[in-house]
């Protein structure tokens, strides 16, 4: 069946090439049937990629080791769920997944918008096709998932740390995010090339950007949770280039989600928004390149992969062509509206954009610095964690504060006096909270205390906004308080959904501050019966247990946990020895306190043959707020994404007014 897979991908390659050429020609000379034919080619490309994906999935489930990819990423003993996740576990399969999502989104975006943005869509097709052509080229010529061999008895198996439920969801979500950013890019570039620079490209891509941004956000949180529980070194984010690869486009997308509101309300920042979209897409390509080319620590790993140079060339092409198009259309992009006052909501969003972009660029600099310094000085210089932490604080803390200020400032112009009145209560609350925390000992970390204080400020402003909005709706005639509350949200979905997302970021900030600025760590070597203590916990090493699982031998140290005079139960920490993969993985023991949200985090660093264990234990306050923040984030994003019938009607009426028949 590998031949079918290979053939299907070649068909995709042909279709995307046709869609690019025919689509560009049709848009340029204005031929309707040709344009439609190009559109169909893009949709058909999704179909053929789907066939290829089905072939790979079937081969994985059948344990068909005659496919090199299947043999490299799975084994007979691997549980089915992880066998499925092997689809995106390796280089070739993950590229195929990228292509599948890309063609799927392309087909959907084109079909959903062809009714009311037809003249825009004709240019979106060739641009989308160009990106799809690149990835089809990669999977057909450079890294094919369908390379065959004489089948070995068993496969190499999957790295134990990838055998984790989070690995089922984390990469696909990130891909939804990365690929999702292609849609706004294609529409923006399509708008520029066609000269149709009205707001339709924004409306067409607003929800795609929100969707991609949500997927990237949740994907990153899942990745952090995976790192925390599975990799088990005591943290959740290491500023690793692979982690930064997803953070950078997410920051740019966040900036775009804010500045797009300025363009919608005031018609300003058109050039800025287009540049943001191009940057976001380029960073998502760059992120994909980072994650798979192995340019992690030194340039040596760069040359190990053949994919790297292709990606870099493509990114360079995308950036060059996009900037050229922007430059060409620059005169038409300039907007007549100017920023009226440095104290206004537009200005607040602008400061937000600048801070987000500054943080993103600082991270980008940290990621490429080793490569640049090696190229320039012959020696790769690596920037450590302290570099990233510094810039996260310098840019992140003001951003946190701004989150509370922005929503409460009026558009266009706000007088300082009115600001004073609005912010009186939140400021008082924040200062009181800060003082209380200082008394409780939070002064041990100044950035942590500042983060807590700012978070309190923002939380107060969010509560205020919801309260005042509900009161206003009740005054306008809502039946009851709950009714006023729900009608408030349903009539201003994006705004209040945004506030819920802000609340999630507040929770995230508190969780991160607590677990990184106020945590404690202790190490001890214990024999059976011995006790160690950390913070106000006591851990007693009771016994060592060995269990057999389908594909591993599990060694666990049982520990009795107590706090004060209360027995908190047992905790297990140890190691798994995987038979096929010949690897050992750390299995940490975590006890989460439901009241305080803090974690007791136990790593069994070493288990000696005589039963002596070496433990490394953390107490991480408030860390579970981070995962709760993820849920709140999802809720807020869903509220913002929820289709608004009223807004939809308005769009339809507008297009009908001009005379274009409108579809969804």
């Amino acid at each position: 069946m590998a031949e079918l897979g290979r053939a299907a991908l070649i068909v995709t390659l042909g279709l995307t090439a046709y869609a690019l050429v025919a689509g560009a020609a049709a848009a340029h000379i204005g031929r309707r049937r040709l344009a439609l034919s190009a559109q169909n080619a893009l949709v058909a490309a999704f179909g053929s990629t789907l066939v290829a994906s089905a072939v790979l999935l079937a081969a994985l489930l059948r344990n068909d080791f005659s496919l090199v990819y299947v043999a490299q990423t799975t084994s007979e003993a691997l549980p089915t769920a992880y066998t499925i996740s092997a689809f995106w576990g390796g280089q070739e399969g993950s590229l195929l997944l990228w292509l599948l999502v890309l063609t799927g989104f392309g087909a959907a975006a084109v079909r959903l918008n062809r009714g009311w943005a037809r003249d825009l869509v004709v240019w979106v097709v060739p641009i989308f096709a160009a990106v799809a052509l690149f990835f089809s080229f990669l999977v057909v010529v450079v890294a094919s998932p369908f390379a065959t061999q004489s089948a070995p008895v068993d496969g190499a198996g999957m790295t134990p740390s990838l055998q984790n439920p989070y690995m089922l969801a984390h990469p696909p979500l990130l891909y939804l995010g990365y690929v999702g950013l292609t849609v706004p890019f294609a529409f923006a570039l399509g708008a520029l090339i066609s000269g149709r620079m009205d707001e339709r490209w924004l409306v067409a891509t607003r929800r795609w950007t929100l969707l991609a941004w949500t997927a990237l956000g949740i994907g990153q949180l899942l990745g952090a949770h995976w790192a925390y529980e599975e990799v088990g070194w005591g943290g959740y984010y290491a500023w690793d280039p692979v982690e930064n690869a997803a953070l950078m486009p997410w920051l740019v997308a966040t900036a775009f989600l804010h500045s797009v509101m300025i363009q919608e309300k005031r018609g300003m920042l058109r050039v800025w928004n287009v540049l943001l979209v191009i940057l976001g897409f380029s960073l998502s390509l760059f992120g994909t390149f980072l994650t798979r080319s192995g340019v992690v620590n030194s340039i040596h790993s760069f040359t190990q992969s053949s994919i790297g140079p292709w990606f870099l060339a493509f990114i360079a092409l995308v950036v060059a062509v996009s900037l050229a198009v922007v430059f060409w259309r620059l005169p038409q992009l300039r907007s007549p509206t100017k920023l009226e006052s440095p104290v206004s909501r537009e200005a607040a969003f602008l400061y937000n954009n600048l801070l987000l972009l500054a943080l993103c660029l600082a991270i980008l600099w940290g990621v490429v610095y080793p490569m640049l310094s090696e190229a320039v000085r012959g020696e790769a210089v690596v920037l450590g964690r302290s570099y990233y932490d510094f810039f996260l604080r310098i840019f992140g803390l003001p951003l946190l504060l701004l989150m509370g200020i922005g929503p409460l400032v009026a558009w266009r112009r706000a007088s300082l006096r009115s600001l004073g009145t609005t912010f009186r209560w939140p400021t008082a609350f924040a200062l009181a909270t800060g003082a209380a925390l200082l008394a409780l000992g939070a002064g041990s970390s100044v950035p942590g205390l500042i983060a807590y204080t700012f978070a309190a400020f923002v939380a107060a402003t969010i509560v205020l906004e919801f309260a005042r909005g509900t009161r206003a709706r009740k005054a306008l005639g809502a039946a009851s308080w709950p009714g006023a509350f729900s009608s408030l949200i349903s009539r201003n979905r994006r705004r209040y959904g945004g506030y819920v997302v802000h609340a999630a970021i507040v929770l995230l900030a508190i969780g991160v501050a607590g677990s990184s600025a106020f945590d404690s760590v202790a190490e001890a070597r214990l024999t059976q019966g011995q006790t160690m203590s950390i913070a106000d916990y006591r851990l007693t090493y009771e016994s060592l247990e060995e269990r057999t699982a389908p594909n591993a031998t599990e060694l666990r140290a049982k520990l009795q946990v107590a706090r004060g005079d209360r027995d908190l139960g047992t905790l297990e920490a140890g190691k798994n020895a995987y038979t096929v993969e010949q690897q050992v993985s750390n299995e940490v023991g975590i006890r989460s306190d439901p009241l305080t949200g803090e974690d007791l985090f136990v790593i069994a660093e070493q288990i000696d043959p005589d039963g002596t264990i070496y433990l490394r234990v953390f107490v991480k306050p408030l860390v579970n707020l981070i995962w709760i923040a993820g849920l709140v984030f999802l809720l807020g994003a869903l509220i913002a994404l929820w289709p608004d019938a009223r807004e939809q009607r308005r769009l339809v009426e507008r297009t009908r007014d001009i005379g274009v028949p409108a579809t969804r």
Partner: protein, 116 residues
């Protein structure tokens, strides 16, 4: 192995048909030119967007005032220019083409072909 080749051939044929479909369905079309907005329509679209933007800004100002985000003084200063702006956009729309509701065919403009 042969099954794979047969399926591959079927797939290729299906894709070729999909691509050729527009030409097969309409071998002799009345008009093959792309449905595009002409200058007048594009201008009208921009005017409509400007109108919607101005009205939305007014609505948001009212709401912000009601919730207390915007003080009475600020409201007084901002509402006048906004109202004038909204009125200007409405005037521009009226001047260009008196309000028409419903079918564009009334004005003798060519009906748009629906691309399905």
């Amino acid at each position: 192995m042969t099954l794979a080749l047969v399926l591959a051939a079927l797939l290729a044929v299906a894709c070729v048909v999909a691509v050729a479909l527009p030409f097969l369905r309409e071998p002799e079309p009345e008009s093959d030119s792309l449905d595009e907005l002409d200058e007048a329509e594009r201008r009208r679209l921009e005017q409509l967007e400007a109108r919607d933007r101005a009205l939305a800004a007014l609505k948001e100002l009212e709401f912000d005032h009601r919730t207390g985000t915007v003080s009475d003084d600020d409201y007084g200063a901002l509402v006048g220019p906004l109202r004038r702006e909204a009125a200007a956009t409405l005037q521009a729309l009226e001047a260009d083409r008196p309000s028409v509701t419903g079918a564009p065919a009334e004005e003798g403009r060519p009906t748009r072909e629906r691309i399905s």
